[in-house]
Amino acid sequence: MKYDIVLAGVGGQGVLSVAAVIAQASMLEGLQVRQSEVHGMAQRGGAVVSHMRIAHGDIPGDLIGKGNAELILSMEPLESLRYLPYLAEKGRVITASAPLVNIPDYPDERELLAEVKKRNQALIVDAKGLAREAGNMKATNMVMVGAASRELPLSRERFHEAIKGLFGVKGTAVVEGNIKAFELGRQAQD
């Protein structure tokens, strides 16, 4: 079994926090994990991408080859289209819906979302709305983890375990808030 995910977003959106939860859940499951990220110059408000690889056996390389990703998971709709060459024919695109407009030539929002919807089994998630519902505007990342969770070879319980492991030190309220956001994302349908 192998599962390759291209995580995308804009610098500062917490792409790496999403990766950390998935990585933790995978480790708890006893799977091999490899995850690459971008630091420094590339982060400042620019497009960021992380390659996340999960498998039963050894994973030699850090990078996903073209046409090999099972999933593109994006924090931002424009970014969800940027790495399509990596997506397998049967691969899926799951993205948060809210555009982050910090460039002058950002495309028309409706046209953009229509293009995303053309993708195989595309799922557009109102992460901001669901985070609000969960009572924590900062939990948009956890909503997206939830939205991706059904696709991943990991159980719901593993994710809960991972969230407890990563956020336990911050207290029960924080853990519960994150689990609520996770569950709302997991239930999200297009």
């Binding site: 690459s36 630091h39 110059m41 408000g45």
Partner: protein
């Protein structure tokens, strides 16, 4: 203690050093090496056991490391590839020293220039200095090779380079760590001649280094880090041959991409090199039996160039130098496929126009206000020159600011403004950050004061080493004015302003006054980095 942890390549190096009995660590922030020292600082803070500190620049860091080695202690120096250019003087000369405490130089190259001005390959430096170099291909090797590097350094009395690349430094995977070793006792080097590079002793040490090359070569020929095998195809029926007629040579990370493609290849031989100097006899024996060799290297064609030489061998060599692989950028699982004779793979695509989203200054960054003020200050002059430097403020080259004209290397802005001013240009303004200034701007300012040059230095002081993640500057902002006055800039022409929109007109006026002053003036734009301020408040609130 045997443990399994998910670590960045950088973190694996740091943990490897700790488990090797590290006593000291020095470095300067530089993507993608920064996280090595950050990890060490965190551990030193929580558990102690060794000394770790950032230095002003890579040269002083390396020299501090040499002091620790002289005292008999194991020491790690960290920097990015261009940082080694700054440390080159002590680095090259240190190869002639009789290294006592193991000295490991962890240098992180940046193929693809994700955060750098160039793609220089540090293996050439190891070769130039004639030292041993190890090149890990994954996090586990980064951990194990760091430990081994210290042993090798002490056994052969030479600094050892550990060559990393961005993709390894900034990638996470599970690492199994082992039991730690105790630090060395403090015992300074016994023979001063081994640390004294007066011509007479330097000649003796140089001969010793040249003689030592034989030992390095023998190590390389027998090291398990240089590994040779025959690779049978996944389906034996695919190949009638029993002896491979062609082979693949990999170095470092390239092996990973090769390994994922190997199942699709017919029978072939494979040689992996991760300890340098490259094993020449092994290479000769390997190539002798083959008609064709494909060389995959992350970085410049270091081995490939040696193999090809000037007198082209009969062997067909495919690599970067003949266009089989791109000469620039990092390797990917896709770029190696044509070189290996494998078909390209495609994913999905879209016709939708995707505008680029380049990095930019954070919303509300003090540099933005400084640049708007600078733009208005210079616009009335016929010809101004604004030189700049390395840091977040380098993004001032992009819209909507487009304030700066040159970026070359750390500290270059001041010297370049001086040179342009002495060539007759006016006004000449050098834009530099507080940390960059302390790194290598001070000496250039000394030059300017010595010549009384008509120029202005604009220090963008956000009280942080921001671009690399917000490390603490080596001296606090409060010390800057004293340092500048101490160099000899006239106190009336050391001015400070706060870069905020509401101060725009005043700031423009101040800049113009100092640009018009026919001598050296230094203007400090002082406002804390938003990111570090936010983190500071957050950790303050948590306590």
């Amino acid at each position: 203690m045997n443990e399994e942890r998910v670590l960045l390549g950088d973190e694996a190096v740091a943990q490897g050093a700790i488990d090797a009995g590290l006593s000291s660590a020095y470095g300067y922030p530089g993507t993608p090496s920064t996280e090595i020292m950050e990890y060490l600082l965190e551990v030193a803070d929580k558990k102690g056991g060794f000394f770790a500190a950032w230095s002003s620049n890579e040269k002083t860091a390396y020299e501090e490391a040499l002091g620790a080695s002289y005292a008999g202690k194991r020491v790690l120096v960290t920097m990015k590839h261009v940082g080694l250019n700054v440390a080159a003087d002590p680095f090259v000369n240190s190869a002639l020293l009789d290294i006592k405490g193991g000295l490991v130089l962890a240098v992180a190259d940046d193929p693809g220039m994700h955060s750098s001005q160039n793609e220089q390959d540090s293996r050439f430096y190891a070769d130039f200095a004639k030292i041993i170099c190890l090149e890990p291909r994954n996090q586990q090797e980064a951990y194990a090779m760091t430990r081994r590097a210290f042993d090798i350094s002490e056994e052969y009395h030479v600094p050892v380079m550990l060559r990393l690349v961005t993709r390894l430094a900034h990638s996470r995977a599970i690492v199994r760590t082992g039991a730690g070793k105790e630090p060395n006792p403090r015992e300074k080097a016994s023979d001063v001649k081994g640390w004294m590079l007066l011509p007479a002793t330097a000649r003796r040490n140089w001969s010793r280094l040249l003689e030592a090359q034989k030992g390095f070569a023998a190590l390389s020929e027998t090291s398990p880090y240089n590994e040779e095998r025959i690779v049978a195809p996944a389906n034996p029926a695919d190949s009638a041959a029993t002896e491979p007629e062609w082979g693949v040579i990999t170095t470092g990370l390239a092996r990973n991409y090769y390994q994922e493609a190997a199942a699709e290849l017919p029978l072939h031989a494979h040689l992996h090199i991760s300890l340098y100097p490259a094993p020449e006899e092994t290479l000769r024996r390997f190539c002798q039996k083959l008609k064709k060799v494909v060389i995959l290297e992350e970085g410049n064609p270091f081995i490939e160039k040696q193999l090809r030489g000037i007198i082209a061998p009969e062997l067909e060599i495919r690599g970067k130098m003949d266009g089989a692989l791109p000469l620039t950028g990092e390797l990917t699982p896709d770029t190696i496929r044509p070189a290996l004779g494998l078909p390209s793979r495609e994913g999905t695509a879209t016709d939708f126009t995707l505008p680029g989203r380049p990095p930019q200054l954070c919303q509300g960054c003090p540099h933005g206000d400084s640049y708007f003020a600078l733009n208005d200050a210079v616009k009335d002059y016929e010809e101004s020159i604004v030189t700049a430097d390395i840091g977040c403020y380098a993004l001032g080259a992009l819209p909507p600011y487009q304030s700066i004209e040159t970026i070359v290397c750390m500290g270059a802005s001041i010297g370049m403004a001086k040179g342009a001013a002495e060539a007759g240009s006016h006004p000449c303004v050098a834009v530099i950050g507080d940390s960059t200034f302390l790194h290598s701007g001070v000496t250039a300012l000394v030059d300017a004061v010595a010549c009384g040059t008509n120029m202005t230095v604009l220090i963008l002081d956000n009280s942080a080493v921001a671009m690399t993640g917000g490390q603490t500057t080596i001296l606090p902002s409060s010390a800057l004015e004293r340092v500048i006055a101490g160099i000899g800039v006239h106190p009336d022409h050391i001015r400070t302003f706060v870069p905020l929109k509401k101060n725009h007109d005043d700031n423009v006026r101040l800049l113009k006054e100092e640009m018009d002053y026919p001598g050296v003036s230094v203007v400090i734009a002082l406002r804390e980095c938003l990111e570090t301020a936010r983190k500071r408040k957050k950790s303050g609130a948590a306590q």
